[in-house]
Symmetry: C2
Subunit: 340 residues, 2 copies
DNA sequence: CGAATAATGACAACCGGTTGCCAAGCCTTG
DNA sequence: CAAGGCTTGGCAACCGGTTGTCATTATTCG
């Protein structure tokens, strides 16, 4: 009979239903739920009780539209299937959830275009974004950061808050490790040219090599996938080096497989030193000597920095830069240089 | 001077800006952009040109609020860091993006409560959900499926569309493999009790074992993490079996590590047969014999089934069930039974 | 050439909240 | 007891689109 039934309707309850039930205005309900102090304690309790009874769940879309705040944070990674990002994603997810935010995860497929258009999309649907290993130019990143709160990871652009994982310094530590094992012919297997991590690492490594009077040659670039390991392995063998410092563990693991196929023993004939300590680095064959990074922690820090930007009230001034320490983890893939 | 400037404002353009620029009503712009046929071709072109000029990007929140369609699909996985789900996530992401949908990825942390509350949340912010390896009860799942379009993965509840990965049948194939290698004392290392996959697999396995006249005992349950592998390995050794069929590769890899620590050789002293063929299964030591699953493909199929529900117009009737075939991949972790 | 029909676009309500503004009510204080 | 201040809650506009209704115009047909 009734055109509208207060509680038995299938449609999810709204603040209007609560308002009707309590005999107050919808705006009062809104205030009771979002700014409890602005409302009389008794009214508030009544409203809260009604909300609970109706199993009210606020509509995020509507909230976002009217308030401008979405309660969501975009997380952009170049490749979801790269284990490196697993821990990162978990770190951001945990920290965001703890702060009451939702994570919008997007795989940008290593493409600057996808990355740019995603950012444009997210401008309306997220309060801020975390961009891991951006493939964008400095200018593009800076422009994007001007439009919405942003934190980059492993990408340092002046003016954009960033979390950096300090692999460069551990890389020279890795170089020392190899030198102390007697290696003199060493290669750096480079990652994508657009990867600032790879560039930074190579620069540090080249400097360190010069200081120590050893020669390190750069091979590559190689795509950050295990499949690229075959090409990397072949290049390394062909170049006559006895040890490789590899852009990341994914390529390093691929190299391990290829070298095994070719009958080249690791570490007897060739030492391999990876980077990141991803899932799998400890149980591959042989277990990978690598530069361990606090990836999950880095994700959390990135979220903290972003949230500091979003809510400037609480907490001190937001940091511009966070540098995460790394350390060399020695396993079985590095050993004494073969005597020629 | 002017309180409102048509195009130089920093605020993103809306359909109203376009309408003003073209001298038409906002509703016409809306129609031109979403139902092009309902609008004169010349007006449409003018509007499209204006939209391009203004770099107009529709506001998803507003779209969702007014139309009820969000253009987003929730994907719920129990554990983001489990490599099994990487490929799944990638599969769903690719297929969703191809269909113009956004993926909302949520890690439910193996918790039925988180899962339930997430579903409730998503009811407003997503058009449908894909639930992998749900921890919910049949009733809860069915109730949730009644409220919004849903596809489950590796979880068969009558009335809810599902994608199943047919590991049970490959499991008996795996059993045959072990029997042919001379194993007679075999264990099944079970996964979580709430996992239907594990239960189904065990049922099939027990039947197959009886048929073939061998004894397979069930050990566990074990959490689907590499760390659980240690307990699993110890349990296997203690029980005196010579071969293990393991719930998943994660546990199997953990067992491999533990057995190595304890000086038990694989496959000479103990054969290990995993499940899923996750990242790492091919390069662990020894490489894992496992039941390979088309995980990414399963993700795509799940999306297709969900989209068929969402847009019943195009395409035939939506399937209730999809069963993905699997196959046994033999690597180095299984071998002839040790002669006592 | 007039009428029927279809195509087109404007108007306005609506989705579910948020928020500025204002009035009423309460209490405190002189 | 009156004046002033603060608390409280209602009204209504607004966020940016979608969509049903309807008037106008263009087109086609008899």
């Amino acid at each position: 009979m009734a055109t509208t039934q207060p509680s038995s309707v299938d449609r999810p309850p709204t603040i209007h239903d609560i308002a009707a039930l309590c005999g107050v205005a919808a705006s009062t309900v809104s205030r009771a739920l979002s700014t409890p102090d602005r409302v009389n304690i008794r009214t508030r309790l009544r409203i809260e009780a009604a909300a609970a009874e109706l199993r009210y769940i606020p509509n995020n879309q509507a909230k976002a539209l009217s308030s401008g705040r979405t309660g969501a944070v975009g997380v952009l990674v170049p490749d979801i299937t790269n284990p490196f990002y697993f821990d990162l994603i978990r770190g951001t997810q945990l920290q965001l959830k703890a702060a009451g935010y939702t994570q919008l995860l997007v795989d940008t497929e290593e493409s600057d275009e996808v990355e740019a258009s995603t950012m444009e999309q997210l401008r309306k649907s997220a309060d801020g974004i975390i961009v891991a290993a951006s493939r964008l130019s400095d200018e593009a990143l800076l422009a994007a950061a001007a439009k919405m709160p942003m934190v980059t990871m492993n990408r340092d652009v002046s003016g954009v808050p960033a979390v950096l994982i300090d692999t460069p310094s551990a890389t020279s530590q890795g170089l020392d490790h190899l030198i102390s094992l007697g290696h003199t012919r060493i290669a750096y297997m480079a990652g994508p040219v657009t990867s600032q991590s790879s560039t930074r690492r190579w620069t540090t490594l080249a400097d360190a090599a010069e200081e120590r009077g050893v020669e390190v040659r750069k091979l590559g670039p190689f795509a950050p996938k295990t499949q690229s390991g075959a090409a990397a392995a072949d290049a390394a063998v062909h170049s006559g080096v006895t040890a490789c410092i590899v852009f990341n563990d994914l390529i390093a693991i691929g190299m391990l497989q290829r070298l095994r196929e070719r009958g080249i023993r690791v570490p007897e004939d060739m030492s391999i030193l990876g980077c990141d300590d991803i899932f799998g680095a400890d149980f591959c064959n042989p277990p990978l000597t690598t530069i361990a990074s606090p990836i999950e922690q880095a994700g959390r820090v990135a979220v903290s920095m972003l949230l500091a930007q979003l809510n400037p009230l609480q907490g001190g001034p937001s940091r511009r830069l966070a540098v995460m320490p790394t350390h060399l983890t020695i396993r079985g893939s590095t050993g004494p240089a073969r005597v020629p």
